[in-house]
């Protein structure tokens, strides 16, 4: 029966290849996607509108900020859903795995990690803050920060990592990130603009309208980074222990 599934798959492949014939040549500057007026507008006007050199961050956090807010909400919901599925779900039988990992934390690994984790976290802050000028931004910085906590959990055990970042604090931090994002949007709405129209923030901060967008983008990226950090760590904590938060990798 499973062999029959090859037929629709190959049909889809033939259709896609037939469609690929009509594509523009790979990488040609005359393809419709490259000539589209929207992207030309973005490339040309990011400098004047927001004074942010990184076009991708500007489009992500300013021109398409609404998308990014709901993407953050999606990440948050995924973390909450994993929590809801796996919390208090383990039975006694599931504690017996095929192979047990009862090793003591190794001295080389722990000492190396002890030196590395502060550097990694500072790098995460750097990636977040420097996202305006170099590749980076809220997501990347948040994920690196979450990965540093996972590194602590991997080299010692999960209790050590949870002592530094307990799961209830995780959810609070994740919620705070979204509230920060939506709060900036609402603040600009109360000041007379539209939702997430950062230029209106120039009315209360002593900066120009473009720099208001610049700084509000930083605030928004911080919100995104907070949520992503907390959710990545809580995802790992719940998945590796089936919600019981004991044992684990």
């Amino acid at each position: 029966m499973k062999k029959l599934s090859l037929i629709p798959v190959l049909l889809v492949g033939v259709l896609l290849i037939y469609a690929a014939k009509d594509f523009p040549e790979w990488g040609s500057p005359s393809s419709p996607a490259s000539k589209s007026p929207v992207s030309s507008h973005f490339i040309a006007n990011t400098g004047v509108d927001t004074e942010v050199p990184n076009m991708v961050t500007a489009v992500l956090a300013d021109y398409r900020g609404f998308d990014t807010m709901f993407e953050t909400v999606v990440v948050f919901i995924a973390g909450m859903a994993v929590l809801a599925i796996l919390k208090n779900s383990g039975t006694k039988k599931s504690g017996a795995r095929e192979f047990e990992v009862d090793a003591e934390p190794d001295i080389i690994v722990t000492n190396t990690v002890r030196l590395l984790v502060p550097v990694i976290q500072i790098f995460a802050f750097y990636v977040l803050a420097h996202g305006h000028v170099s590749p980076g931004g809220g997501f990347q910085g948040g994920v690196v920060m979450g990965a540093s906590f996972i590194l602590i959990a991997l080299s010692w055990d999960l209790e050590t990592a949870l002592a530094r970042f307990p799961l209830d604090r995780c959810t609070i931090v994740a919620g705070a990130g979204i509230i920060l994002y939506a709060g900036i949007g609402l603040l600009s709405m109360f000041l007379g603009g539209e939702f997430l129209d950062y230029a209106e923030l120039a009315k209360i901060f002593p900066v120009s309208r473009e720099m208001a967008r610049y700084h509000a983008m930083l605030g928004v990226e911080i919100g995104v980074g907070l949520t992503v950090t907390a959710i990545m760590f809580s995802l790992y904590a719940n998945l590796s222990t089936e919600g019981r938060l004991k044992g684990g990798l």
Partner: protein, 309 residues
Amino acid sequence: MFEDGGIINELFIERLNYLIYVVLLLIGLHAMIAKNNLIKKLIGMSIFQTAIILFYVSVGVKEGATIPIYLPEHDPHGSHATHAEGNQTTEQNHGPVVLEAGLVKGYSNPLPHVLMLTAIVVGVATLGLALALCQRIYQGYGTIEEDELLAQIEKQETRTQPRVVSKESKPKAVAVKKASTAKAKASNTKPKSSAKPTPKKLAPKSQAKSLSSTSKASSSQSASVKSKARRAVAKSTTTSKVKPVTKAKSSAPAKSASVKSKAKRAPAKPKTASKAKPATKTKSTTNPKSSTTPKKSTSAKARPRTPKK
């Protein structure tokens, strides 16, 4: 479609990358359909997602264009230093200007990158959720192979479905069977090989008695079920048989809004009492300890998700 030789040149040389993207898409799609293991299906899903992202990003590639970050000479933040000859550096100050069209062509298109950033993050969120579901399935069924899962689900469904026997005893047996299964589900015990419905009157009584737990509620339940079964057996019209069937079925969920008779009310109340206590104790209604209640039973039976002991 089959021009002379042109198709080979077009497809394989100029658009080779698109072909390979299509191959990756097909690999991911086939893995999602045909693989047995759930984790392999998830790997196929991820391959599919990243292949789509690859396709999107490559649509916006401009050959010879640089990354979508402003070069220093277009930097909106003012000055950048240029090193002239003879070790003299001159500073050029310029504010933000709108780039003209010629310069715009030198940058890559940032729009696909933005969309695909969102896609990657949403993809990893979906992957995390799917892995949590896999763990849950493993806790409930003990396996993550699709064929074994389907076999287990079918076995559970056939065990609780009434099977067709002789014609004259069929409605009676169906009513009796449904009453006994409703009671068995409510009292949270294993239905025995009661898949074979017996047209006897004593059968549900003995089944109910043997299956009942030691709680007082279940004994009253068995008494009421007995009476219900007797009522179902005594009545010979189909309409009256429909009513006990529906009564038995609708009394099974703890929130039975349409309580029509006292006998139905009696089992409903002790059932809710007995169900409320374990519900608050375990705090979750999807604990997969017993193998009787299929967690993911797809049949539209009016059965509660009974909490475990």
